[in-house]
């Protein structure tokens, strides 16, 4: 997909669908395409969270390292998903690793720019936060069920 096509698909990303045209236009002014090769890190636990990713194709694994035991995969994200909310909350550090499983394409916001937009326009900030909370809520529910170990 060309950069132009990636940007063209911006408004149709599931995360942005619920935002108003006005807010999408505002966000569109700060979005950039990104690509990650298989194995490439989008986020590393403990490092500054400087970006917010919208995945359009490919898959990203969320995990945490186990020292000598390698990395424990926790969740897999795919097209329509977003990577990360650590950029929104102090101390703005990634809580987990996010690594491309296959070739990943999507859109990325600079975290500082996005925080600034939310501060300048609280309505945008409110709607963005509501969307993020929907994502967090879904992932929390899934994690809770996973924790039950229902197939044991």
């Amino acid at each position: 997909m060309t950069d132009l096509a990636l940007l063209g698909a911006f408004a149709s990303h599931a995360f942005l669908e619920a935002l108003s045209e006005q807010h999408r236009m505002r966000l569109a002014s700060g979005v950039n395409p990104f690509r990650a090769a298989p194995g490439e890190y989008l986020a590393r636990e403990g490092e500054p969270a400087q970006a917010f990713y919208l995945i359009q194709s490919g898959h990203v694994g969320i995990g945490t390292h186990l020292g000598k035991g390698g990395t424990a995969p926790i969740q897999t994200l795919g097209p329509g998903d977003v990577v990360g909310w650590s950029w929104l909350l102090p101390p703005y550090q990634w809580q987990f690793d996010a690594r491309a499983i296959d070739s990943v394409q999507g859109l990325v916001f600079d975290a500082a720019w996005l925080r600034d937009q939310c501060e300048q326009d609280h309505e945008l900030g409110y709607h963005l936060l509501k969307q993020l909370l929907t994502v967090v809520s879904g992932r929390l529910a899934a994690c809770r069920i996973q924790q039950l170990d229902i197939y044991k």
Binding site: G63, T71, I150, K152
Partner: protein, 283 residues
């Protein structure tokens, strides 16, 4: 009622086990094994979704779903998880050993109603074996159906059942398969997460979709929510329930579920017909 008539036609008495012998046995995953047994009679058939009562002499009986190809009249296939005394005894049986079989019992998946529709199957853990006969049927009659999707959740990569067959089916362009595990491993390349998280990754048309579910009830509750969120209507959602089935013919009442007996009225139910009981905590 249809199921009972079928039993009466195929057995001298629905309560009398036929003695059959094990032809083959294979391990599927830790604690899960498949037995291939000879059919109790010539022309013995079953419908996808039905179950047999397997009797280990001197130990007891257990209700086990049929997990083979319904078109294969020569062998009966059961995939079983060793979770108790009877299934433990079944696990210890070897090729040539005898066991008792009664069945087939119960309702079946709505394959006639699903004709012309997209079929989305969602299985969790040991919930895949009762859906495998459906897969065989759908693939054999592929042109009768729209898109076919299988979303399957297992505990770990080692617990994924029928790995070889899943790989074969994945080669087909007309069958979408997504497998996820709750607990990944460094070598697992597939998705990690709850089976419901696979929904956004598969393509189907909700207005013409039939959803079939089998797995732990908590998994099916969350799966139903995903279907409803996508506007698949309740009358096109079907689930297979598991209860303590002992007689399999509605005499003993052990498997009562609201006004239904799971052994006779189920195990496959249309969701809108059991919704009020499905969400009752004590049912």
């Amino acid at each position: 009622m249809t199921a009972n008539l079928q039993v009466h036609e195929q057995c001298s008495s629905p309560m009398l086990p036929a003695v059959v012998h094990i032809r083959d046995r294979r391990s599927e995953a830790p604690g899960v094994f498949t037995l291939a047994v000879e059919p109790p009679s010539a022309g013995w058939t079953f419908r996808p979704g039905q179950f047999n009562m397997l009797y280990v002499f001197g130990v007891g009986e257990a209700a086990i779903s049929l997990s083979g190809d319904p078109a294969d009249r020569g062998t009966i296939i059961h995939t079983i998880r060793n979770v108790g005394s009877v299934t433990g005894a079944l696990d210890r049986l070897r090729v040539g050993d005898a066991l008792g079989v009664r069945g087939p019992f119960g309702s079946s998946w709505p394959l006639d109603e699903a004709r012309g529709h997209d079929v989305v199957m969602v299985a969790g853990g040991i919930g895949l074996p009762p859906l495998r006969p459906v897969i065989y049927h759908l693939l054999r009659h592929r042109s009768d159906f729209g898109r076919i999707v299988l979303l399957y959740g297992a505990r770990t990569p080692a617990d994924v059942l029928y790995g070889d067959e899943l790989d074969q089916w994945r080669q087909r362009a007309d069958f979408q398969i997504q497998v996820t595990v709750d607990h990944g491993s460094p070598s697992w390349r597939g998705p990690v997460g709850l089976v419901t998280e696979l929904f956004p990754r598969c393509g189907f048309e909700p207005s013409r979709t039939v959803g079939l579910m089998c797995g732990p009830e908590v998994m099916m509750r969350f799966t139903i929510r995903e279907f409803l969120k996508r506007r698949v209507t309740e009358d096109r959602l079907f689930l297979s329930l598991e209860r303590n089935m002992q007689c399999a013919v509605g005499f003993c009442g052990h498997c009562q579920f609201g006004p239904n007996f799971v052994c006779m009225d189920g195990p496959v139910f249309r969701y809108d017909r059991i919704r009020s009981f499905f969400n009752v905590r004590e049912a």
